[in-house]
Symmetry: C3
């Protein structure tokens, strides 16, 4: 692990346009900007591990807007905001008047008069979540430009229909620390593969986020799924192009075994096919409960044809030296534990359980880094200032 | 806009009894006290705009008790408390044991041991909301007097059945800034008028708050509504008396056109007739769902007779130079946007949209001012102290 | 009341192993540890009463996990955390993905990356609540040991199926102040008695907590209930042993009068019989709504046989000089106030109402003391440091 000073030195060399820009998709960011996010996250972790306060805000609100359930991301966001000195207020749309016909444009301004950051999760509707975030962003631009808002709150995407950048960046930071450096990921093979789950309708944002990010750093990325379980085509296409640019590889295969073969890292996780998500989105919009029920039945039946897409000990033997790193965004569907047949065998999961926890543990720092980079143009100096001030977090 | 020092100088000249007094109705406050609230709100805005911390509390709780839905007031209260250093805890009556038969007196004390301020919204039942706030206040007095509470938490009315002081004071501060001074409001005509809305049962507190406040400063206040859409009679009577004292005017008319004629400011907003609210309150208390449904039908049908009570471009032409300032507490029912036919034409609303956002933007500072005045006897000195200390809000 | 310096001097003499230990049951703690909790609570109250900041955390999360409704404990926990500088985040299991099959082990880690303390209420299921807390504790140990968590969050039991230590310790602190010292409790008689209530299914944790704590300090403890209304047998047995060790007395009687006779303190409170709680737990686990309904009927009918178990003026005359101190954890079922026939006569309750409020007022400080003792090995020095720094809580 690098020293605090090393991190700061590396930070100072980067060119970045993260200041005052929302963090919605990793592929909208330059490689330097992604590196900066990782370095700032690590530096913030250093500070906290050394009991040094990272409170850059004396006061200020951070708004969380969860349009879907969440535990780990909710607490990661709360932890990140608290670390920096912001107080989280939840925009709970059942308690608010949003249902009463308020437009997004108006609400975005009404909650933002003294707000520094807004975190949004909106992953239920294909074609909607990311669009909503951009709408909120436009509304904030409008309010800021017209003097309504004394500051332009930054937006952090806490999972949308397209990407899950706080997850994929935490995953990447885990890999950086696991392999001792971002440069060491070059040439490593990662298998992002579909896996069987007894549930259905899981978002596409995690696999899309992984192939959209890991192809940036010269990795060999295999995307594997049973025929039909495609992702958003544009994202897949983009992943291929990115791999070419970064000197990596990207291919799509329809065999879990094929993807696992000689892999350094495996990421077996269920998702719903793109086409199903489109139909589901239409049905949800129409509140067609009957249609949703029958789609669920159809989809579960189809899933059941692929129960052999499970990350078993057998399959793990196919990986490099039989010792690939297992990853998951959690919670995983663990066979015989959380369900009868699931994404991963209990023994495999248990062997990597602590690693998956560590993987998750980077998320608060990744989110805090996204906030810091959004609100400060000179994060290296800000971090140095905190380090020198050395104010204790716990007395 | 006045300089910070000017605000402080003006503040020092005022006589005020706001310290340790709840802020429930604007008409319980002297003119000096209202001026102080405006000045302190502006001074707090100055501090924040100059990135100076206004954190006067190192720790302490602020309790929000929303007995009706809210977005903007909820976030305004949260923002105000956070600005001053208080942490908001929501008294959610569905999660608490209040339903289990606790009396108000007891609960008020139980939540207040380390509490500095309580914000309450209770606007559903005529004759209940304000009474509830006073009951809470009495309970806190009792607890403080007997040594149960180490401090007497102040109460801020975040909307009751009678008044909506944080709204009306924010509206007033908007006018002060729009016209360049409170003294410039003298002689200005404001039309507080009913407007058509496809919904029903909207509280009376906004129109009552407006006529109860704007008649204090020599304005010419027209209250307009279709026959039968009366407000609480005592409030209307009081508004007339206040206008006489302040050198302004107050009249009630049954024509929107009449009210708009030569108006400097128009405030078109729907509300339910006083008599309907009384019947509704009785039905709500009895949980008479059938009765409520038929009252709603009756009321909507009656409303529909007055669809021409809409703030259209036509009507705006009647105002002074056709350029009256449009105001609204938001969210407005905008024709063709949030509903087919509503309170205001889309083009009128859009022209004044940013102004209504600015209007709303004063609310956090007005609430913070109410809190500061309640907790400190010497707000001018407190504000000067903060200014001199010059602690940065954002590092 | 002792001076701050006296409290610190006494603290320094105690031997304590509270550091880094969860506070789950008072009977797991030594007498010195209980004394330390009381002293630290009093010292924190001193600081706040003198407007001195007790903020030992610059940032950090405190998680509240309420698996049953709560008002007073919820706000006490929030107050305690805020006093020390921690921000409360509620783990709301309806909003989280816990229902989706996450194991406790995983969730405990996922929410704890930057968390210093976790408060849990889980009192609905006999044999479950305390077990759950220990499970969470084990999970945190596991995560901390493996480097997942940079700190091991402490756990405070905010009421389980067995004990309610924040309540019983607040009750004890009330007695200490009422009688002028812990040593003065020696020989005092306390009647912990069942009382009639029109509700059913009230937890056993309060009476168990009281007999489990008050028998530690040489008090004469009478536990009284109608035949069949037993508590968990092991707890009752333990209370007897503790009384013997501390030089006190403990007996179980089936008469309220008998218990009240010559009592210095009475604590009349309803609870459900142990056997009923066992059946209820089984039915709850099976979600057997019919079974629950008929159990409730049976139990209410049985309760109704004991309506004379009411703390009346008559009964109060039996106590020492007719002037026993009445205690209750609140809310009490007050006859003619909160119900037709209840635990206590209105006139008795009203006479002691302020005392019961004061009793409740110690809870925030008791919780804060539990947190401080858990996170700092040298609380005497920490408190002295705060006192000397003398930072104002309110400017």
């Amino acid at each position: 692990m690098k020293s605090f000073n090393q991190l700061i030195e590396e930070l100072k060399k980067l060119k970045s346009g993260l200041f005052a820009k929302d963090f919605l998709l990793t592929w909208d960011k330059t490689e330097d900007e992604l590196r900066q996010t990782l370095l700032v996250a690590e530096a913030l972790k250093h500070l906290r591990d050394q009991n040094i306060s990272a409170k850059v805000f004396d006061s200020g609100l951070a708004i969380s807007n969860f349009r879907d359930n969440s535990t780990r991301t909710r607490f990661s966001f709360a932890s990140a905001c608290n670390l920096l000195g912001l107080e989280v207020q939840d925009l709970d749309e059942t308690k608010s008047q949003i249902a009463h016909g308020e437009t997004v444009r108006e609400t975005a301004n009404m909650i933002s008069f003294l707000t520094d950051i807004i975190g949004i999760r909106d992953d239920m509707f294909l074609g909607e979540g990311n669009t909503y975030m951009k709408e909120v962003g436009d509304a904030l631009d409008d309010g800021f430009r017209h003097g309504v808002l004394p500051q332009r709150p930054g937006i952090v995407n806490l999972q949308c229909d397209i990407d899950h950048p706080t997850q994929s960046m935490a995953d990447l930071l885990h890999l950086v620390n696991y392999y001792g450096g971002l440069e060491n990921l070059k040439g490593k093979k990662i298998a992002m593969t579909w896996a069987y789950s007894p549930s259905y309708g899981k978002p596409l944002s995690v696999p899309q986020g992984i192939i959209g990010l890991m192809t940036r750093f010269g990795m060999e990325v295999d995307l594997a799924y049973p025929e039909g379980y495609t992702l958003i085509p544009e994202v897949v296409e983009m992943a291929g192009k990115q791999a070419a640019v970064s000197g990596g590889k990207f291919r799509v295969v329809n065999s879990m075994d094929e993807a696992f073969k000689n892999a350094d890292i495996v990421y077996p996780k269920s998702w719903a096919p793109f086409a199903v998500m489109q139909r589901r989105t239409d049905l949800l919009k129409k509140s067609d409960k009957e249609g949703l029920k029958s789609l669920e039945q159809e989809c579960l039946a189809n899933n059941a044809r692929f129960k052999d897409w499970e990350c078993t000990e057998e399959k793990m033997k196919l990986t490099k030296g039989g010792k690939a790193l297992y990853m998951h965004c959690l919670p995983a569907d663990i066979s015989d534990i959380s369900c009868k047949e699931g994404e991963v065998a209990a023994s495999v999961f248990e062997r990597y359980r602590i690693e998956t926890y560590k993987e998750a543990g980077y998320k608060p720092y990744v989110i805090a880094a996204m906030i810091l980079n959004n609100k400060f143009g000179n994060t290296a100096e800000v971090l140095e200032g905190l380090y020198k001030a050395g104010k204790k977090r716990v007395m």
